[in-house]
Symmetry: C2
């Protein structure tokens, strides 16, 4: 056929306006009507002052800066080192905040980003040791709304569980011929770049920084981990473009990181080698890094995808990942920077005929032997699962196997495999489940603990961003909640994802003249809270993964990756389906876990249903713990998933007229597409397995 497909370059330069996301003016209503004192100095204190001033200007409150006025206020935001205040009531509140700290048992440490909130009399006080803490405290007050001024509110201390809460932007500077401006981006162009140049909309970047700070994010890498020629230059010739972004994000406490190519000494430096053991190479990295810090003193560090999917790396020189990471770490160490070295390394030229090679094993096999060899400012960045951001995977065993290495957990906020921001798929419950997972067995440390590390020296949480130049930031307006939830979970992984969702809803959909906020909130919650499980129901069953359309990864392609080099197979035949990863008869991947889970995963009898086909090849008539057979489970969940989307859509329709019409229309249109796509998933999966198994649906529903 002579199929004609036009690829539309996402434009997005002429948006009429940008959606306010979770910081609409109304979110500041409770704050803006009050009398506020900001006490202290610094770049981020100025940011706090700006925020409060804007709110008070809109809602009739007043703001004062630092201690020279003896006024009564409702709220004081004070740096601990900024001294006492002349007004006794206000000083009492400030002092109450400091005093409250002592009660927390560890001497009241707050760190660079923590804060305490306390009441004294009629005054609410937020006290922090550093300006960033004050900024986070401010956004906490915003989230609390009126509750921040409740006289009965007990003192509370907040510190981020994870020191580094980072977004990776897979944004290309130049438009990639296949991947476009943003690799796996579903929200229009890049906020930072446009067709080879900086986009130039610094106001938009500032607004983005503000949103990120309000969610808790404090680090960002500004270019794709796949570094092509144009992007490589950001480290040297085009460093000014990076510095410009850093300057705009700094007032929101966000440090900029850069994805670099391991081949930089060759492609940029003109050296004949990038061998990490070569003295000239070390010197080159040291000099290049020094140069970066001269221009960006708070530069975060480098993100590196090396020896992975065609990117250059130390293997070329017979060196290993530790050698590679350490040469960069050595260059960064004098300046306080870190290397995020990605563990996403596997053979992407696998032979599908070879059932002994298992891509799931690869990160462990490559990295675990190197434990202890990485410098202290190297963070090994590990995708949450052993394969690749699937809707359902077990937790990566690497996370339990490198005690002497700083590990970051990498999540994917951009919905590459979870509906590409055309489907509602709220990922909070999934991430929460992952972060709470106890890889050493019940009662042991969690994945969040691993990312926190001993004495907070862990690698933190990293996510691939879902944002772009789109009017709603994220293509699908409801996908904003995923970004917000990521930031909040990175701040505190123990938060209830359901409560975070409600927080996001109440900020983003403030009360209005036409809406019953309780009804809007409840409806949105019902649509979103279980949507990840709904998505799971109508897509690849029982953890088997990767039944997506090749290349773009959108929509079903049951055999799409079955005979490819990518190592992602389901091995369905007329008798059964799934991948045997047991130690006894399979690839042995299950044995990469500590004993408790190694044993659970080893047998189909003990393996949790939702991961059964990830770990085992079973007959279609295998009976699950749920009591259903595998084949009937496939039929039932696929019919159910589509039904649930239909319910979502009906629920959404009840909001017509109650919310911003632009948001309503955008979501309505995407729900239509989700309905179409979910139906396609259902029919293809059911037909595929019916044709293979020959087993009819017990309930006699239509399978084509």
């Amino acid at each position: 056929m002579e199929q004609l497909v036009f690829v539309e370059e996402p434009e997005g330069t002429d948006e009429p306006r940008v959606h306010a996301a979770w910081l609409p003016p109304e979110a500041f209503r409770a704050l803006g009507a009050r009398r506020v004192l900001v006490h202290g100095h610094g770049l981020l204190v100025d940011t706090v002052l700006d925020e409060v001033s804007r709110a008070c200007a809109r809602y009739g409150g007043r703001v004062w800066h630092s201690p020279s006025w003896d006024v009564d206020v409702d709220l004081v935001l004070a740096l601990r080192g900024a001294g006492e205040l002349p007004n006794p009531a206000v000083e009492a509140a400030r002092a109450a905040g400091e005093a409250a700290l002592a009660e927390f048992g560890d001497g009241g440490t707050l760190g660079d980003e923590g804060f305490v909130l306390a009441r004294a009399g009629e005054v609410t006080a937020v006290v922090a040791d550093a300006p960033a803490g004050l900024l986070y405290g401010l956004f906490h007050v915003v989230r609390l709304c009126a509750a921040a001024y409740d006289p009965a509110r007990p003192p509370e201390r907040h510190r981020p569980a994870l020191r580094r809460r980072m977004l990776n932007h897979w944004d290309n500077v130049a438009v990639h011929p296949v991947m476009g401006q943003v690799e796996r981006g579903y929200a229009g162009g890049s906020i930072f770049w446009h067709r080879g140049r900086p986009r130039g909309d610094l106001a938009r970047i500032r607004e983005y920084g503000r949103l990120l700070a309000a969610s808790g994010v404090n680090a960002i890498s500004v270019n794709n981990v796949n570094v092509a020629r144009t992007e490589a230059l950001l480290l040297t010739d085009r460093l000014g473009d990076v510095a410009e972004i850093a300057d705009v994000l700094r007032p929101y406490g966000i440090r900029v990181h850069l994805s670099i190519t391991f081949a930089a000494p060759v492609v940029l430096g003109g050296l004949s080698t990038a061998d990490p053991m070569d003295e000239a190479v070390r010197a080159w990295w040291a000099a290049a890094t020094r140069n970066v810090y001269e221009r960006i003193p708070d530069f975060g560090g480098y993100v590196v995808k090396a020896d992975s999917e065609g990117q250059p790396g130390p293997f070329t020189y017979g060196r290993d990942h530790a050698d590679g990471a350490n040469v960069l770490a050595e260059a960064l160490a004098p300046h306080g920077g870190v290397v995020h070295w990605r563990a996403f390394v596997y053979n992407h030229h696998q032979d599908w005929r070879d059932r002994s090679t298992d891509r799931a094993r690869a990160a462990y096999d490559h990295f675990v032997p190197l434990d202890g060899r990485f410098r202290t400012n190297v963070i090994v960045q590990v995708k949450f699962g052993p394969v690749d951001f699937q809707t359902r995977e077990p937790v990566s065993p690497v996370l339990a196997a490198m005690p002497a290495t700083r590990l970051a957990v990498e999540l994917q906020v951009t919905q590459e495999y979870t509906g590409q921001q055309r489907h509602v798929c709220h990922l909070g419950p999934w991430w929460s489940e992952l972060l709470r997972f106890e890889p050493w067995g019940p009662g042991g440390r969690t994945i969040a603990d691993v990312a926190t590390g001993e004495a907070e020296a862990g690698g933190g949480l990293v996510a691939v961003a879902n944002t772009g130049a789109d009017l709603f930031w994220t293509g699908h307006p409801l996908a904003q909640a995923n970004l917000y939830t990521f930031g909040r979970l990175a701040w505190d992984p123990r938060l209830d994802p359901s409560a975070i969702l409600d927080e996001w809803i109440s900020l983003t959909f403030p009360p209005s003249a036409t809406a019953d906020p309780e009804l809007v909130g409840r409806t949105l919650h019902e649509i979103m809270d279980d949507s990840w499980r709904t998505y799971e129901r109508y897509t690849a069953p029982l953890g088997v993964g990767f039944m997506v359309h090749p290349g773009d990864h959108y929509g079903p392609g049951i055999d799409g990756y079955e005979y490819t080099r990518w190592g992602t197979y389901h091995f369905a035949d007329r008798d059964g389906v799934g991948v045997d990863r047991s130690r006894a008869s399979g690839t042995g991947f299950a044995a990469q876990y500590p004993p408790y889970w190694a044993q659970v995963y080893e047998s189909p009898d003990s393996c949790p249903d939702e991961l059964l086909l990830f770990f085992h090849h079973v007959p279609y008539q295998h009976v699950l713990h749920s009591g259903s057979t595998v084949i009937q489970h496939i039929y039932d969940t696929h019919f159910a998933g589509v039904e649930e989307v239909a319910v979502m859509r009906r629920r959404w329709q009840t909001l017509n007229g109650m919310i911003d019409p632009a948001v309503y229309e955008r979501v309505a249109e995407r729900l239509d597409e989700q309905m179409r796509s979910a139906t396609e998933w259902r029919d293809q999966v059911n037909t595929y397995f019916f044709r293979k198994s020959g087993v009819p649906d017990e309930r006699g529903r239509v399978i084509y």
Copy 2:
């Protein structure tokens, strides 16, 4: 995954030289050593004179032009109307040619392109009525080599069976973001266009015209049937670019045609409609066409893909294909031009769940009811099969169902579905089989007869070109033979494809110091002659078609189109495979044939094995006429096909040192790829059907 794929823009501007294909200097050796008289005048006679002069300059012969010299010559090439010659021996030969004509029973007509070859004494005479006939006569003499001067050679007359022997170039002017410079092109960039502009290499176009003339082609369309914005302008603003090509090709008897967009009156003319019944639209086409002929007096006409795969057409205005074609025909008629209106119309948004819709039926259902309604200068251009250029399909029933319409048969020389010029797949035997097919049953008229038409008023033969800016013209050097064979079969469909192949081999691989020409010829013949059947063996079995990788159509994708909107399914399940197109229980497509074949195709018992799965869904254990079961046939042919490729490769290796090293290396490298790809086809097809059927190979070979 974050797969990184670079799309390389085929360049090809800096070839060191261009391969001579079937016109190397050595092919003129027998001619160039002789004394030659060219008798007559005209543009194409000048071309003959040039060719002979060049050959004689190289090999020591001599050439004279027209009758003023009374010399003895070995060969006279004379126009019948150019008068007698002063030299008695030469005049005797010329007269013998004319006299021989009378013996052919129809008064000795030659037409515009025919010629007669005769001997008298020591002189060979080629006599034609028109300059083009003389040019074709010259190339015939070249092909004959020494045999042209054999005293015992009886007189022979040659006239093309088909008046129009046309190539369609699917070349884009601007690079299409998905399809590139040449849609389905496997030979580098376009000879005509480069990144939005004319390529500007007129010498290369001239050389191309020369090769085409020597094969028999006399018409060419210079842009893709999918007409985008830039290409639309060729009709008007950029007509000069087309005229330049026409000027270069004219000396080789090749007329230029243009693919146009049916929406031209709107997109170029600024009208509000392109309704073919609208007077302003008719006037616009008349004026635009008049303008074309002012610049290109021998312009061939328009090629149109309308209401097909998203191209605009008359359906928009509630008109049918006859209305649409006739408005263009009306504009062309005063100037002698024709419309090639493509019958490739089907629903390309089909629902895979809907088994009643059958894409194979579409061209018949759309066009047959319109028989008799097309103007006489409309040619309905019909793909040879009902689906789309597959390796094996039945002949399109449209070709037997429109007696009152001029029909052209469309072949695909570019190897979209037949190995993409990375595999050796010599298509001559396949085309010969198609052209000799008797749609009304044994002993009836053939497909070639349909294309010839009554009183030679048929539509001719058309093929999508396989040529590009590549050094070897066709990517794979051996794919040149497909282009050559197309031209020769278009000239005379009764030629033996095996003999054409030998003709091509002997022209393209002339004797050299290092080669035994007999050995080279035999080896090449063995590699190529059966290569289409080899390709069929290792790809989609028994006519089921379309098991290709989606999008690029290269390599296996057994389920690649199974759940898509393209209407190309095989319906394999655990019990059987194939498409039921019978009248009794299927889509009824079989009933579109005249009675003989309708009956043969209706039943699996009478249906030929090679088309069984095109017409019927049968169990894997169904026994073929060959005695094998379907499943065992699949295994056997796939193992055999790969074995045959291995033999091809070994045979090729025996030619090392005997032929042009550049040709040797290019073919050797592609045979390696063919071996890899054929193995992949074998393993994927066998594994797929083994997993589905559960039937083991009788011979116990490895199936993964």
